[in-house]
């Protein structure tokens, strides 16, 4: 391999690497905080956890709950339909939607189940 080829190859690798890294930073930061959600008018995904016991069903087939993001900011989240069963047991909750100045209006609520690669304890076996 000629010296010139090697220089070109190293340069290509650098450009490639930096390009991937720069693109990745934006593309891979899927989840934001409420502070970031308030600063934008775009639909975002806020990750946090649901504050236990704050679930309220509204009359118009919607529900609200308080959600705390990773900075500790608590915001009221309004979502349509039925609340996920494991909303409060979830390790984290993702609200997809927009901040309307007062509440966070979510189109979707995603939940991350706490997963341990341990066997589930069956209640029947525990009782024995």
């Amino acid at each position: 391999m000629k010296k010139y080829d090697k220089v070109v190859l190293v340069l290509l690798l650098l450009v490639f690497g930096v390009g991937i890294f720069m693109t990745a930073r934006n593309a891979l930061s899927t989840y934001v905080t409420f502070a970031e959600a308030k600063a934008t008018t775009r639909a975002v995904q806020v990750k946090g956890s649901a504050v236990a016991g704050t679930l309220e069903e509204l009359d118009d087939d919607r529900y609200v709950f308080l959600m705390e993001d990773s900075n500790g900011e608590v915001v009221r989240v309004v979502a349509g339909g039925q609340a996920p069963d494991n909303l409060f047991e979830a390790e984290s909750v993702v609200a997809k939607g927009k901040y309307d100045g007062e509440d966070f209006l979510a189109q979707n609520i995603l939940v991350k189940c706490p997963s341990k690669y341990e066997a589930e304890e069956h209640p029947a076996e525990v009782q024995k």
């Binding site: 690669y117 341990e118 589930e120």
Partner: protein, 221 residues
């Protein structure tokens, strides 16, 4: 034929064991069983892409078209297993998170990976001359593999993701129920066997096609 039968029995046993022998997972419940298929598929994809890179390095050193064929087959198999990991992941995500596709860092990074390797096949199909195609594809395959550790192992752990981590980097721990681990490792071995078999069949086919093409050229010339 002997090894194919062993493999058939082995994989059938893994499938049965994943439902009957393996316990359901804490938190995920029955959904945790996907680990037996999803994770080995992803690991084999990485292994096949690694082999494609090694074959490509070999080609640039030795200039043998046989090595180019091996690289191509490995890239193809890597993509097949990568697609399997993506699809099984999306199905699982519907159950575990509530949506098939959420552009989670895991999902974004695997999409980028699939596109990088899709470009490899586009590149190959664009160059009619075998020697030139082999050389350019080899360089590309080496470059493409450089992104794999970042996209598969680093990115989803650096960026916030909903994806579960089998290996917990923060606690430096790897904890799995013993029965689960047995089925998981058996599946990993089965997937490796499946990959080796598919690779052999493909290589024999590609070698025959190459030999046939050579004969045709001799006949025409």
């Amino acid at each position: 034929m002997f090894w194919q039968i062993i493999l058939g029995i082995w994989m059938s046993a893994v499938i049965v064991a994943s439902f009957l022998y393996m316990p359901s997972t804490q938190g995920l419940g029955e959904m945790g069983r996907i680990i037996v298929y999803h994770v080995p598929a992803a690991w084999i994809a990485v292994a096949a892409y690694l082999m494609a890179m090694l074959n490509s390095l070999g080609y640039l050193r030795q200039n043998k078209l046989q090595l180019d064929r091996q690289a191509q087959i490995n890239a193809e198999l890597g993509t097949v297993f990568c697609l399997l990991a993506t699809v099984t992941g999306a199905i699982w995500s519907r159950g575990a998170w509530g949506q098939y596709w959420n552009w989670d860092p895991r999902q974004t990074s695997i999409t980028v990976l699939l596109m990088i390797y899709a470009a490899y096949f586009v590149l190959r199909s664009a160059i009619p001359d075998a020697e030139r195609r082999a050389r350019l594809a080899a360089v590309y395959a080496i470059l493409a593999f450089l992104t794999v550790p970042f996209l598969v192992f680093i990115a989803p752990r650096v960026y916030v993701s909903l994806h579960p981590d089998l290996i917990n980097v923060q606690n430096r721990s790897f904890a799995m129920d013993r029965k689960m681990l047995v089925v998981f490792l058996a599946s990993l071995l089965g997937f490796t066997g499946l990959y080796a078999w598919m690779y052999n069949v493909q290589l024999r086919l590609e070698n025959l096609l190459a030999a046939a093409a050579m004969k045709r050229r001799e006949y025409d010339g």
